[in-house]
Amino acid sequence: MREKLEEIRRRALAELADYASTDRIEEVRVRVLGRQGELTAVMRGMREVPPEQRPEIGRLVNEIKVQVEARIEVLAAAAARAALEHALTQERVDVTLPGVRSSCGRFHPLTLAGERILDILVAMGFEIVDTPDIEDDFHNFAALNFPPGHPARDMQDTFFVDAGLLLRTHTSNGQIRVLERRRPPLAVVCPGNCFRRDELTVRSSPMFSQMDVFMVDEIGRVTMAHLKGVLIEFLRAFFGPDTRVRFRASFFPFTEPSAEVDIGCLLCGGAGCRVCKQTGWTEILGSGMIHPNVLRAVGHDPESYQGFAFGLGVERMAMLKLGVDDLRLFFENDHRFLNQFPATDEGVL
């Protein structure tokens, strides 16, 4: 019996050589250690062993079992390692193929510009108020010191609609809407769409977006100097800290004094070029001290309150910043234009 066991051990270990295949290892495991295996057979035949030898034989069977199991474990680990290595040499993908993807959305450039402008203004203490696009004559014209028949109304060709209403020609109706129901101090920005009777061309559009920004407080608390301070701060935040800003006297019915604001031409840096008509300056927005008649129209005494206002065109700000010179691009929504903008609203405009 002893010899038989030694023979089992010798044969198993010989077969479990270093490079035994996975199949061979499994075959040995089943033959030697399986339920019908050689070691089980020995244990079953123990009756035929003389009783004094039985402990000795049992110990030997166990020793062989542990020994074979250990050897199998070593070999199995090696085989698994080899198989993995083999697999890794075979499983290679072309990492340059495209990934599984859905389309990438983009912000509209007018959103990028508009949100950037609002970020700056909100940080400067202005609150945002939405106001209607369809207006009456009072809020769009009369209260803003455009008397009926005044030639200044001609500067803004108006769309009229039924019920005696019109499409606002500027967001300055926001001044009236806010001032007629609230008392100063106020610092407000009214963004929104405006409409004028212009065809859609490179330079004009029947619809465009504006923001009317105004600050009203007691006499002397908001002066023309503050208007200049806020505008310079604002324009430098948007166009860059080195932006040059100048104020030119101008005319708007709803401000007095009025000032047109220019920034140094972004294209030529002030040297003069085709875009700035050789002046080195680009017109960017209109501004001024709110006209006393505007305050009167909404029931605020111009002897007690004063304020400043400025109105900016979002398209114009975006066009200058982006170097785009065709207004139609903003409303055609050509994917080849829009796809150039990022899918984040940070750091572009």
Binding site: S102, S103, I134, H226, K228, F247, R248, P257
Partner: protein, 817 residues
């Protein structure tokens, strides 16, 4: 307003360069749009008198002329012009002259210097230079004969100088409040104030000369409507000879953008440009006597203006009439019945002040905008009427040979009081934010022509000049004070209020930003479309419930005739635009307003619309892409509501037939938020898709943001810690009627379960074998979890069996084996 600097310098001695003048005007609110340099197309041409004209000995068509060029000398030239005659004054190009437009059919020189003119031998006779036509001088295309300068010019004078051809013209934008700057004199006055120099006024004596030979005709002026015409002055002249104006005068009109007509009309235009007072000349013989009546049109319905067009009048139009009938539409255009023409020999000259609003109304209504109406609308100087009459009389006397028939009739029916404003200097400084010393304030206000007197306190009485009707209160004067020095002296300061925290939360803005972010995250690109649309589009996409479309009364075109009622038309248009431009897929959204009219009130609502078309998810290479359809867009909308924290509140309910006609009736739903309709979603109706020539299904949705915005600024459920006890899952498959919406099955299961049924998820819907026709199997995964203990298998099994029993009864369903 075009400003030729030579003309300006007649009123102003100013050393500044054109660029300096332009800069100063621009900074003071009179923006100079362009600086034009005009140069003559020739050099070395002088005025010369033709002394004798003889036949050329060798050519019938040519003449041999002796010309006198004054101090330069006398010359013999060969001339081919048919109009040459002895005594004529013309343009003589000396030997050595340069003519850019060489004429005689020669090719024009391409810039640079033309070659010098040489003495030539023409048919055997030497010609020392040449007499020139207008074309040869580059003045016009006229080439029928040599230039005729017989109207008062000295031989030997440099022609370019005489015609004032070398000049610089500034194109000045005059804002509607500055009518006083609509003239050469007005701009001179403004520049004098800006540069601190004196302006020269028209010489009284020069004007007075025109009073020679005054006759005894007196003109009666009857102003019936002084509210529209407070002042009317008239003057008559006879023995007028109509003809062309001198070339220099024509040239000045042309530089100012006006066309020369004849010496009388040109004289009125010249004075208008010079002094800003529009003038009109009537043919005196065609008037019914020397009488002018100024009145409203009243019952007069029509009059023919001098362009030959019959104009329909309204009662408030202001008319100029003679004793019998209307002869002019006041301030806008003269009548044909009294027009000055070639046979005119006597004129009545009008110089009046008309109400700006009345003129603006009439000229706008008739679409008749003229240089005159532009000035009346802005408001002219209330004091210049008579000066202008004398000035035009002088010009007519000089260049059209007219003689006065009598004195000026000047009716000032409503004399204007000078306006005095009390200026609180401290208040002005409070507006501007800068201190200006009192003497400086006085100096600047005097510079613009105001009279300034001291008033008690830190105040001034400021009497504004007659030509500055735009100055009416403190703020106006503050602007003048700031403007004259340029706004650069106002310092830039940040207001004390800046930096304060905005009072209202920007909820609406955050909401829009969140909506955009979520849409972008789903792969949709933001678009902006114009909110004007065609009536047909509005009809197609319906709109705000019960609201009528907002119609434009003066649209640019029918295509842009109404305010949109839906964002979908614009999105589909953008889709089509891109498909025409190499796009094969398009996934876009827009946030914007839609409009309607309820009675007399306008309604504006904010919406979000989205569209997906074509490949939406591109799988790995070799695997098919996911193409956009109802379910891809529904996934986007579900993700949107989940992102907003509203997923528990939203349901998709099938539409009733034709409820939304532009959507596919079987692939469309209403989006319902807590029982309220919040929008629609679906695939575009196949008929619409065909109309737009779309190859694939196009999924659309439109959500009413005003409904969404009614939720709290951050709609969120209470935050709970992650569960501490494990969950137990049990699946079930129910066989139900095919038409039963899956979400009703899910809801029934939820209702049938115990409180600790945490979640029910649908994972499969199957129709076909072995199910009976008209049935489907719905596979659901139920997840049970108690918050306070680990569930035992036994209690889960019992609860799940009870759930099955209840739900099968409730839905008439069977459990699938």
């Amino acid at each position: 307003m075009r400003l030729p600097l030579r003309w300006l310098r007649e009123f102003l001695e100013i050393a500044a360069s054109p660029t300096e003048i332009a800069d100063r005007l621009t900074m003071a609110g009179l923006e100079v749009e362009a600086i034009e340099n005009h140069a003559p197309a020739f050099a070395g041409v002088v005025v010369a008198r033709v002394l004798t004209v003889e036949r050329h000995p060798n050519a019938d068509r040519l003449s041999l002329c002796e010309v006198d060029a004054g101090p330069i000398g006398r010359f013999r030239v060969v001339c081919g012009a048919p109009n040459v005659r002895a005594g004529m004054v013309s343009a003589y190009a000396q030997v050595g002259a340069r003519l850019k437009a060489a004429g005689h059919g020669a090719v024009e020189q391409a810039g640079g210097f033309a070659p010098q003119l040489e003495a030539a031998v023409i048919r055997g006779v030497r010609s020392e230079g040449m007499l020139c036509s207008e074309r040869e001088l580059g003045l016009s295309a006229e080439h029928a004969g040599i230039l005729d300068l017989s109207n008062g010019s000295e031989p030997g004078t440099d022609l370019a100088e005489y015609l004032q051809l070398a000049d610089t013209v500034l194109d000045v934008t005059v804002m509607p409040n500055r009518g006083d700057c609509m003239s050469i004199f007005g701009l001179a006055r403004e520049l004098a104030a800006l540069f601190g120099v004196r302006v020269r006024t028209l010489s009284r004596r020069r004007a007075a000369k025109a009073r020679d030979g005054v006759g005894h005709l007196s003109i009666a002026v009857d102003i019936r409507d002084p509210d529209l015409c407070p002042r009317y002055a008239a003057l008559a002249m006879e023995r007028v000879r109509i003809g062309p104006s001198p070339l220099w005068l024509q040239r000045r009109l042309e530089l100012c953008g006006m066309r020369a007509v004849n010496n009388v009309v040109d004289a009125t235009n010249y004075v208008m440009l010079e002094l800003g007072q529009p003038l009109h000349a009537f043919d005196l013989r065609r008037l019914a006597g020397p009488k002018i009546v100024v009145r409203r049109a009243g019952n007069d319905r029509e009059m023919v203006t001098l362009d030959g067009i019959a104009r329909t009048l309204v009662a408030d139009d202001l008319l100029i009439c003679d004793a019998e009938r209307p002869v002019a539409l006041a301030g806008v255009m003269g009548g044909q019945n009294s027009e000055v023409g070639e046979t005119t020999d006597a004129v009545l000259l009008e110089s009046a002040y008309f109400d700006p609003v009345a003129i603006a109304r009439t000229s706008r209504r008739l679409g008749l905008r003229s240089e005159a109406s532009a000035r009346f609308e802005r408001g002219i100087d209330r004091a210049v009427q008579v000066t202008a009459l004398w000035r035009v009389a002088e010009l007519i006397r000089k260049y059209a040979g007219g003689r006065l028939c009598g004195q000026v009739t000047d009716v000032d029916a409503k004399p204007a009081e000078p306006r005095t404003i009390t200026l609180d200097v401290g208040r002005m400084e409070g507006l501007l934010g800068v201190r200006v010393p009192l003497p400086e304030v006085r100096r600047r206000l005097r510079a613009i022509g105001a009279q300034v007197a001291s008033a008690p306190g830190n105040r001034l009485y400021v009497t504004v000049p007659s030509f500055r009707g735009d100055l009416s209160e403190m703020a106006d004067l503050a602007e003048e004070v700031a403007r004259l020095k340029g706004l650069a002296e106002v310092p830039a300061t940040l207001p004390p209020g800046a930096g304060r925290v905005a009072v209202e939360r920007e909820w609406q803005r955050s909401f829009r930003c969140a909506s955009r972010d979520l849409m972008l995250g789903c792969g949709l690109t933001e678009v902006r479309t114009i909110s004007l649309t065609a009536a047909a589009e509005n009809e197609r996409f319906g709109g705000l419930d019960r609201a009528a479309p907002v119609r434009l009364q003066n649209p640019l075109s029918a295509e842009l005739g109404e305010m949109r009622r839906s964002l979908l038309g614009g999105l589909l248009q953008a889709l089509r635009f891109n498909l025409n431009r190499e796009a094969s897929a398009f996934h876009a959204f827009e946030i914007g307003r839609v409009y309607g009219l309820v009675g007399d009130a306008a309604l504006e609502a904010e919406r979000l619309a989205a569209l997906t078309y074509g490949d939406y998810v591109l799988g790995r290479i070799g695997a098919p892409p996911v193409r956009a359809d109802f379910f891809t867009l529904k996934g986007i909308v579900e993700r949107y509501f989940e992102g907003l924290g509203l997923d528990a509140a939203v349901r998709f309910e099938p539409l009733t037939a034709n409820e939304v006609p532009y959507l596919h009736p079987g692939k469309a739903a209403r989006i319902v938020l807590d029982g309220r309709s919040a929008g629609v979603i679906g695939e575009l109706h196949p008929a619409e898709a065909r109309r737009l020539e779309l190859a694939y299904a196009c999924a659309l949705c439109e959500v009413d943001l005003s409904v969404l915005m009614t939720y709290e600024s951050s709609p969120r459920r209470a935050i709970e810690p992650p569960p501490r006890f494990p969950s137990v899952g049990r699946d079930l498959a129910l066989v139900v009627d095919r038409g039963l919406p899956a979400d009703q099955v899910v809801r029934a299961v939820v209702e049938a379960g115990p409180a600790w049924l945490e979640r029910v998820e649908l994972f499969d819907v199957y129709e076909g074998e072995p199910m009976a026709v008209g049935k489907k199997s719905v596979g659901l995964a139920c997840r049970y979890r108690a918050r306070d203990r680990t569930l035992t298998d036994a209690e889960v099994n019992r609860a799940h069996e009870e759930l099955i029993a209840r739900v099968t009864t409730r839905l008439g369903a069977e459990l699938r084996a």
